[in-house]
Subunit: 472 residues, 2 copies
Amino acid sequence: MLRARAGWCWGLRRCASLPRALRVREALQAPEPLERVKVQGWVRSVRSQKEVLFLHLNDGSSLESLQIVADPSLESRDLTFGSAVEVQGKLVKSPHKKQNMELKAETIHVVGPCNALLFPLKMKERHPLEYVRQFPHLRCRNNTLGSLLRIRSEATASIHSFFQDNGYVHIHTPIITSNDCEGAGELFQIGVANEAKESAEKTHFFNVPAFLTVSGQLHLEVMAGAFTRVFTFGPTFRAENSQSRRHLAEFYMVEAELSFTESLQDIMQVMEDLFKTVTSTVLSKCPHDVELFHKYIASGQKGRLEQMLKKRFVIISYSEAVEILKQASQGFTFKPEWGCDLQREHEKYLVKHCGEIPVFVINYPYDLKPFYMRDNEDGPQHTVAAVDLLVPGVGELCGGSLREERLPFLESRLQRLGLADTYQWYLDLRKFGSVPHGGFGMGFERYLQYILGVDNIKDVIPFPRFSHSCLL
Amino acid sequence: MLRARAGWCWGLRRCASLPRALRVREALQAPEPLERVKVQGWVRSVRSQKEVLFLHLNDGSSLESLQIVADPSLESRDLTFGSAVEVQGKLVKSPHKKQNMELKAETIHVVGPCNALLFPLKMKERHPLEYVRQFPHLRCRNNTLGSLLRIRSEATASIHSFFQDNGYVHIHTPIITSNDCEGAGELFQIGVANEAKESAEKTHFFNVPAFLTVSGQLHLEVMAGAFTRVFTFGPTFRAENSQSRRHLAEFYMVEAELSFTESLQDIMQVMEDLFKTVTSTVLSKCPHDVELFHKYIASGQKGRLEQMLKKRFVIISYSEAVEILKQASQGFTFKPEWGCDLQREHEKYLVKHCGEIPVFVINYPYDLKPFYMRDNEDGPQHTVAAVDLLVPGVGELCGGSLREERLPFLESRLQRLGLADTYQWYLDLRKFGSVPHGGFGMGFERYLQYILGVDNIKDVIPFPRFSHSCLL
């Protein structure tokens, strides 16, 4: 025993005479039995038999709980589902195949009781996601949300690593801005609380109207004038009065901008690499958490993902897409027509047509897209170098473009829109060492929806904000 | 030559007959000469001699620029400071000691010209930070801001790694919230743009008043009921009408929460480990960028930092701090008195008194601190288990506490404040498996100010927002 303990010293900092504190994940993975161990967490199940008391203890470090085996004399009234406990005892090899180790309890101390009748989560019940959504302050104690949050954390770390490993500089683009990047108009405006009492005009905190950002793109473009590769990963906002399963008022976007690039191909390569690298990392680092989703929420998704990771994404032009839609045997509510936006039903059909793998659609009509997209010059203001990435189930996952870096093109477009004064600073970027550049944004929640097969976007973010709802 | 090229293949993806595209950093670090190389970037200096033309090219991948050596026949009118160029040629060992490699140009193509007269940054001028701050869309092309942004990016990555390596789950706490965590009242409120036209009451997008978050703490506490270690790193907001060098309306906070901890010592250990790990990483990964600050902005800071990294931070109690201040020979504008907040002048004195290294001040008066801090029970509502970390130059860098996990204590305190109804959900966390827990927040911009010795907080964030200013 002594030898084993000496050769194995995860995070041992305290005096050796105190029991060693282990997290559940560490206990489960321990290579050898251990005496004098302490584990803390929340009770996920209690099963009392005549001769033995079984508990399952979880502390959020893994989906799997640690089995505690105790003498029935250690049972107490407070030892209920949801209660917080500290258990001391011996970590031993489990006789069961399903788990590696289990803890033979010597003492069980209830740190924080939990009234099981009032607690909205119930033992061994598979609560629907809609049900737990009603309890934003407690739903993280549900297995599914626990797994989701661990996956989300791992995906976040992986996104940062991907860009850092590829020489990108991370930029915190501002949340509060005086711009409206998309011109979509669905903006949240910011004021000082209680400011309404006084004259609204006089009390603008920033002297100008200020909004919550809808995209970090224009600010990334500023940085792309000094760094050839930049990215941002932060919250963005839309005041969209939508109850859809694909929209939130507050959501996260990964955005990247590349300088000295003249081809959409380069942008698409980064999008595809990012998608595949992060997905592979999540699949390999959170296998059990991902399995929960693929087993209970979206069966079959695992195989589809693995197939997708092996294939190159499809690339079609917008014009080809419209042709495909026109030749479809199926009818559409919105008739496909060159010059019109692709609707949800069109996106679905295109993805299916291409074999249910992600599809890049490129070169959209000039008039459909915002002012900053680069004119392809394939006709008088005919198409721009835009790209959308459509994925099965979710639809549009990413959007990107080459940006119009040529001063005369951009200037005349902004003038026609009456925006040349507003965007003087943006025009400046084209006056002082302008370079061909482009970039894209990926909706992080939609990404999680796609890889996990989660139907409602509210279930892939810790605290969903949408119209009529801002709980906590 | 061929052998060298074959044995060295950074990012070679294109056809071998095309010149190899290298970033400046890669070119500078190349172990061997290379034929047929392409480098792109912005001109940082032009020096034309009778026999030779020298350029310095920078692409943001490093502080150091690449020296281009060309025949004067390659000079053109557009080849000015600030212009964007693409240079092809041979990468050779530089005869100068200062640089490893230089590029012998065969062609120079000006991609984007720059009118040097209109461009507000000038060649070889050391612009004061106040000057470049006037040009938020161009200042990243300045050396100092370039270095700052690379350091900021590296520190961001290092913070994520620190927590991930230590088993923390990353949580995106919400930006829009219906809470006011600190009760400080300096809140930004959110509305829908143009909503004022209609009745304000009826058009609340979220049905309830919604604010920009001042801290992710309460939401992290939710998560600390399922995960024993969580962290967040995102924007926070204060509608403070301040022109100080230490405040912004939008700034970044790193926050962590630990469950099953009953001692401030544990919290302080994480704060100190985080600070030292991130600082060591930044110093080792960005030596030249950091050196620029320590050479031109804050001389002597390098040695002070290195000393600090070797020492344990000091810990004193608030009561001790007041005693030290009372016995000080120096006079204060605000007389030190038990029960009063520490002022800037007091913080400065304490840090100096302790030897100009970071100082933890713990156990503050109960009445000075927010409702969620844990009563030390050292007298009737006498002190709470709070901690502030004071650092030289900057003052308060971190704040933390144990949280009141005992339902009766918290309930009666909230009732006295008339907040029991508002925080029903927060009380719930103490009803269902409550555990002793605590955490802290660190101001990211103040952290950067401290390690780099930057006087004004507006110079350590890409797009500063403060009262009367929201540029871009």
